[in-house]
């Protein structure tokens, strides 16, 4: 990929997209889906006066600019001052607003962990902390811009709902449902332009997983950016005679324990897939459910990024390197059920 293309998507300097987000060789030339964050919130704000949007000098990256264009009086750009943004959002929430505070996940969840705990979760403020470009989706921008630890950190905070958006339609559903959800939320997005999984805006309930495909040989439980490759992996596994159930575990805290137990009982094996360090993320949460439900004997594998800092590379090359693309997931699944 050219640096220019990458900058275009991540920093919003032009209308072109980063095509090799999905294919390391650039062969996937489908249009990049739109980042609907700002547009959807602007629609919600048309009918709900509580919405406010804050960002920290990334309005063009996360398309908060689409919100700002329609509701300038309810848009706040704090400059490059993320801690002030999160805490300011908490102050706004205390005055009756529902503020969405968006920046790269590395800066929201990691830099502002204490502000999220102390100012949002603990006083149960309806702040929606939005961490976009999570995981290693910023590719060769490197570890400073990656967040492979955010799910682990955020799910440890009491009274914080942690949700991963799967694609554009799912993000719309998450934003709509968040308006009347009690307490603070951490909403994790991938690139914000992730490939389509949901053809329409789904009906979702936080804490209730979505079964996208049924199968009897194993269950792939994925979240966020890994749901689309998990669905694709299940299709290729079917061609190989392996029947995989696929579950979108969009809410990571608190996890849908019933769906995990059902997966263990119905399919007998579980593979978790996440764009996150294998420590303390989705896989750990699923493992905790298995152990505490008397299902610890279930064949189980946590698949994600090992406990290390990732090498330099474009996103798609990194997904292939860590077997987090569809082919890689299918291969890991075959090992599990072999």
């Amino acid at each position: 990929m050219s640096a220019q293309q990458d900058a275009a998507e991540i920093f919003g300097n032009s209308g072109t997209g980063l095509k090799d987000a999905r294919s390391a060789d650039g062969s996937d030339t489908r249009a990049i889906p739109a980042f609907v964050f700002g547009e959807e919130l602007a629609d919600i704000a048309d009918r709900d006066p509580r919405v406010a949007v804050l960002t920290a000098d990334l309005a063009r990256s996360n398309r908060a600019s689409d919100f700002a264009a329609r509701h300038p009086d309810r848009f706040v750009n704090v400059g490059i001052a993320e801690k002030n943004m999160i805490t300011m959002a908490a102050g706004m929430a205390s005055a009756g607003l529902v503020p969405f505070a968006a920046t790269f996940a590395s800066f929201s969840a990691l830099l502002c962990c204490e502000q999220i705990r102390t100012d949002c979760a603990y006083p149960r403020m309806p702040v929606r902390v939005v961490g976009h470009h999570s995981g290693m989706s910023m590719g060769f921008y490197g570890t400073s811009h990656h967040s492979l630890e955010d799910l682990g950190i955020m799910r440890t905070l009491a009274e914080l709902t942690v949700v991963c958006a799967t694609d554009a339609n799912h993000l719309r559903a998450v934003l709509r449902a968040s308006m009347d959800h009690p307490g603070a939320m951490y909403i994790r997005l991938g690139r914000g332009r992730d490939p389509e999984v949901y053809a329409d805006v789904p009906e979702i309930t936080f804490g209730k997983a979505v079964r996208l495909r049924d199968g009897g040989d194993l269950t792939i439980i994925a979240t966020g950016s890994e749901v689309a490759p998990a669905v694709a992996a299940a299709a290729s596994l079917a061609d190989a005679g392996i029947s995989a159930r696929v579950v979108d575990m969009h809410t990571v805290s608190h996890i849908d324990a019933g769906e995990v137990a059902a997966a263990a009982r119905d399919t007998g094996a579980i593979l978790t897939v996440e764009e996150h360090n294998v420590t303390n993320g989705l896989g750990t949460a699923v493992g905790e459910v298995l152990l505490s439900s008397g299902l610890g004997g279930t064949p189980f594998r946590k698949h994600g990024v090992p406990d290390e800092y990732v090498p330099v590379g474009p996103p798609a090359a990194l997904y292939a390197h860590y077997k987090l693309d569809a082919d890689g997931i299918a291969g890991v699944a075959k090992e599990l059920v072999a």
């Binding site: 801690k83 002030n84 300011m88 005055a95 102390t118």
Partner: protein, 291 residues
Amino acid sequence: MQAIPPRGTPERAELAARLADRAKFVRTETVRLSRIAGAGHYTAAFSAAELFAALYYAGLSYDPARPDWPDRDRFVLSKGHAAIGLYPVLADVGFFDAAELERYTRLGSPYGDHPDMKKIAGVDFSSGSLGHGLSISVGMAYAARITGRAYRTFCMLGDGELHEGQVWEAAMSAGHYGLSSLVAVVDRNRLCIDGFTSDVMAVEPIEDRFAAFGWRTRRIDGHDLDAVLDAFAELPEPGAGAPTLLVADTVKGRGVRRMEFSPDWHVGNLVGADYDDVMAELEAGLREVAK
């Protein structure tokens, strides 16, 4: 804001006398509650005693029967460790029954060393982690603009708290947004835990620093109730314009000679004859500060 009678009137003299009595009440209650807990932030509450009294018995508009009244003035105690001095005031003005404070810091009590807005009526935001309160207050003031309300937001910061970088993110943003409904009060008692701020990490010139970020500034004697009342009375009307900084020069530990400007009393516990001596000293009223 409540109307403040002008200097030189009998009403003003009466008000100042009442506030002095309530500041004494803040100090004696701080000593009493500390004994229940077995430890207390005496000195940080003593330096703020006149400021608390002026805010709650003269300045802020609020309704104890409606703690969530949307148009109330907000007060954020960013130096949350002084909450021991604020709780008795909140009870005294009617937010809750003062008898509840008999269980201060005991298991399950709403009243801990740092204030919890979800447990205590009248606390506009939880605090304890220094450096956050000014950002909270900027958010509240910005929300007033969005929602079209005319309340003011007051934020009390410690002087050592100014070491925190987030304070300056907030200060920069308040100046940039022109939040004239925002009033920051720095309790300039000159000490942080490990000693004088001038030795640990200098904070002066505070007014110049805030002025450079677009604030209107004023420096007052934080124990001179008339000076505090004048500063409140002369605040600009809320609207678009510079936020206001009041640097209140105070004495950490003011009112108890052994504690004044002493780094040994940030947290302490008075027992036995020491407790009685200190209570008697406070009841006798403020004396000149020893140089």
